[in-house]
Symmetry: C2
């Protein structure tokens, strides 16, 4: 079973668990505007309005404009692909009548971008297609189903995420060899981009600020590009980076200290900060298991780092990773108003999440980010975590 069949099979099971009889994705001209949930099921390029449906029994059906139908058929995913010529509406109604679903999930969500793929114009069109039928009143948000389908990684998805993390680790290692006093953030970014492309991957987020780099304490922080700051003896070099490989992302942060002439180890203050950050991440990881609530894990890391004498980090401890680097749904969010309902979500087995936090020191920004896969009784690292503050000599 290939990855997309595996995901389709999972969709059938999750529809049942979420009491949905049918999931309906409605898209058009996907090269110009697609539904982010569509890529969970396959690589599709659709010109005309297309309805992709999965039933509670796991049956997959597509209604597509004549000309788009053959490519859908060739994916081998669908039990049935019906082409239409004039309008999708009458065919869609006929198809719904044959299944007579009581609850039809559509991709609308106020809080989860990844589950909110239906545009307002397409929603109006759908209402017209279903006018005068009982199905219009049976449309419900599929957001919780979509979040589960996206977040519960199948074995093949986990394998791809491990491969992405392995590549990231090789690039972090190569970058460590490249770093020397005088090298600028811009030069490091160009080096990392070349390594990424040579491996057949892309950066996990916009290459304008992936990798995110901080050379020393004066490098600007936030979603801006690399600066002209350079690696300097006696300073920290920090890199936030991930790749997208075979459709799946990685996301890690690593830190180096550049030794001064005659120095053999980092200053005690930098070492203390690194140890505290690492300890906070390890304490959080030790508490992760299915059924815990996101904010509880954030609180453990937050308490650990403040108990070590550092301020709270001004963000969440972690988000999910997958097809997107910010993969939507629940995560390790603090109970702050800006995070809405997200902190209260339950962590499930199969989710991949980050654990990330840092502290500012006079040597620079010492921040780590690790990835974990939630297992039935705990969690496992995706990519080996950073054990020591790496040294630039």
């Amino acid at each position: 079973m290939d990855l997309y069949h595996e995901k389709l099979h999972q969709a059938g099971e999750l529809l049942d668990a979420h009491d949905l009889d049918l999931w309906l994705i409605l898209v058009r001209e996907t090269s110009e505007h697609t539904d982010p949930a569509l890529k969970l099921l396959g690589h599709f390029s659709l010109t005309w309005t297309t309805a992709i449906m999965v039933t509670r029994s796991g049956r997959a059906v597509a209604l597509a404009g004549l000309g788009d139908d053959e490519a859908l058929r060739r994916t081998g995913l669908f039990d049935e692909v019906r082409p239409y010529t004039q309008s999708i509406g009458p065919e869609l109604v006929r198809l719904l009548q044959s299944y007579d679903p009581q609850r039809i999930g559509i991709n609308i969500s106020r809080s989860d971008v990844s589950a909110d793929g239906l545009t307002y114009g397409m929603y109006l069109n759908l209402g017209d297609y279903l006018a005068g039928t009982p199905y219009r009143e049976r449309l419900v948000s599929a957001e919780h189903f979509v979040a589960a389908l996206r977040s519960r990684k199948t074995p093949q998805e986990v394998a791809r995420m491990r491969a992405a993390a392995d590549l990231s680790m090789r690039i972090f290692t190569a970058t460590g060899d490249f770093l020397r006093p005088g090298v600028s953030e811009r030069e490091v970014a160009a080096f990392v981009h070349a390594q990424t492309h040579a491996a057949g991957a892309t950066t996990a987020w916009d290459p304008v600020h992936c990798p995110g780099l901080n050379a020393g304490p004066n490098s600007p922080w936030g979603h801006t590009g690399p600066s002209d700051e350079v690696v300097r003896p006696g300073e920290i070099f920090h890199m936030d980076f991930g790749v997208q490989l075979d459709g799946y992302c990685s996301d890690h942060q690593r830190v180096w200290y550049c030794l001064r002439p005659g120095e053999h180890e980092p200053p005690a203050e930098a070492q203390h900060a690194f140890n505290a950050v690492k300890a906070a991440i390890r304490a959080a990881a030790a508490a992760i298991r299915p059924g815990v609530v996101g904010w509880e894990i954030d609180a453990i890391a937050r308490q650990t780092i403040t108990a070590a004498g550092y301020p709270e980090y001004p963000h969440a401890l972690g988000h999910q990773v997958g097809r997107a680097v910010h993969d939507g749904g629940v995560g390790f969010y603090p109970r702050w108003e800006r995070y809405g309902d997200k902190p209260y979500g339950t962590i499930d087995a199969g989710m991949v999440l980050t654990l990330e936090l840092g502290v500012r020191t006079r040597y620079g920004y010492i921040s780590l980010e690790e990835e974990v896969l939630v297992t039935p009784d705990g969690c496992e690292w995706i990519g080996p975590p950073q054990e020591e503050l790496w040294l630039i000599r």
Copy 2:
């Protein structure tokens, strides 16, 4: 003035022409799901819910989550960038109160994918932000404004489209040198992809079926990938191809005839078909000027090709090209129900459109596609049109 400033200036003028006081784009996590209209104004990567607004006077203002704001400011496009921390709603209302727009255009469209970027969930959120204010009732579709902004190419956009077409032409020429008896569609696709990437471009549509290739009469037609069919003496080779270079697309079709041993020119029947296709495109081009209605131009080509003894082509004569290869809005569509209102749209100066049609012959599919820029008194080719049936020796 750079391209984005040029486009922003045009937006102000077009808002006035469309009697809109303010254009509001609302997006979040644009790496996962963006509004297709956003790329007309710039390359943005936004994490949190962001409102981008342009007023009738051409003033550009953005409301963005703290952390996204600095990158917006650095674009130099905005008169004001206001960061928010807790919720975008109250700031958005305050900003609207300061302009007090009577008609607020938002990106919703039932028929134009490029003008339908607002998701249903975001529409609900927007309704909540504006609850209790007069602005909720002042929201109207910006679709005609968005279509005009996209379709009326500025001088810098035209220059980029010419550059994309020039690159396409170089790749068509190189492909002609590569073609020889026995070369398969798959080998040609790989060659074309390598040429495209070496030039720093990408294919104009999904590389799975760009280039679209037809070697001889038995190659399958439609949105499927290249087949194992090969170039054969006595047969036609057809290629539908475009690049995306610096954000703008090209789209052309070219045809070759592979000479048999001892043959010095194409068979009369193939030559006749080529001449008829070329003549139909030229007749249509000669009639293009601002103010004509799309279906009238399609009808000229359709009459020309049927008068030459060939069947009607089963599609529209042409679509717009720009940031997307199918750039939305009006085009040269026949008055068929499936095209809705599109055939009745008026052609304006500054639009770039394709002229494409073909006929099936026993030698293969003889189809051409040219691009024209509509000028104040007619049209100009974008990329030199194909004058002769090219020969593979």
